[in-house]
Subunit: 101 residues, 2 copies
Amino acid sequence: MNPFDLDETIHQRTRLGIMTVLYEAGEADFAFLKSTLDLTDGNLGRHIEVLAAAGYVATRRGYDGRRARTWVSLTPQGTSALRIEVDMLRDIVGRVQPSQN
Amino acid sequence: MNPFDLDETIHQRTRLGIMTVLYEAGEADFAFLKSTLDLTDGNLGRHIEVLAAAGYVATRRGYDGRRARTWVSLTPQGTSALRIEVDMLRDIVGRVQPSQN
């Protein structure tokens, strides 16, 4: 198996960020993801669509007072796919020395 | 700094594979890279162009008997850029538990 045959749906840097933040947060709303990852509405929305279409994340709509909010969380499928991606990254990381700076 | 602000020139999975294999091999020819990473001539050629344009790899042409061969190696700039990328991946890897399988 090609050790670099990474899942592009997750490996893409913004989506890797979204998946890792959701893994840690459990669930996060759009505003949190946007500010944490320094994204625009459009950019975040497109990446969430790709991840939801792959079955890796689920979204939930609700209200905070009168403000509509959208929460995002990893599905079990997303969690295991992220772990497989990170296992492969762990192998790559082990092959390269840390930088000095 | 956004911990997921990875250098797309290196982070793209095929180019990450090329850079890591070159880091380990020191220098490798096209045939070795193609077979190791399961790539086509066109695919490998395009990625090498992107990496060379960024100053991350250098290519050298030569002959093996009468057979023309192209060798590729990391530049010092490429080596340090790879280490920075891998440092960031090391941080991400530390945030996610290994998968059980």
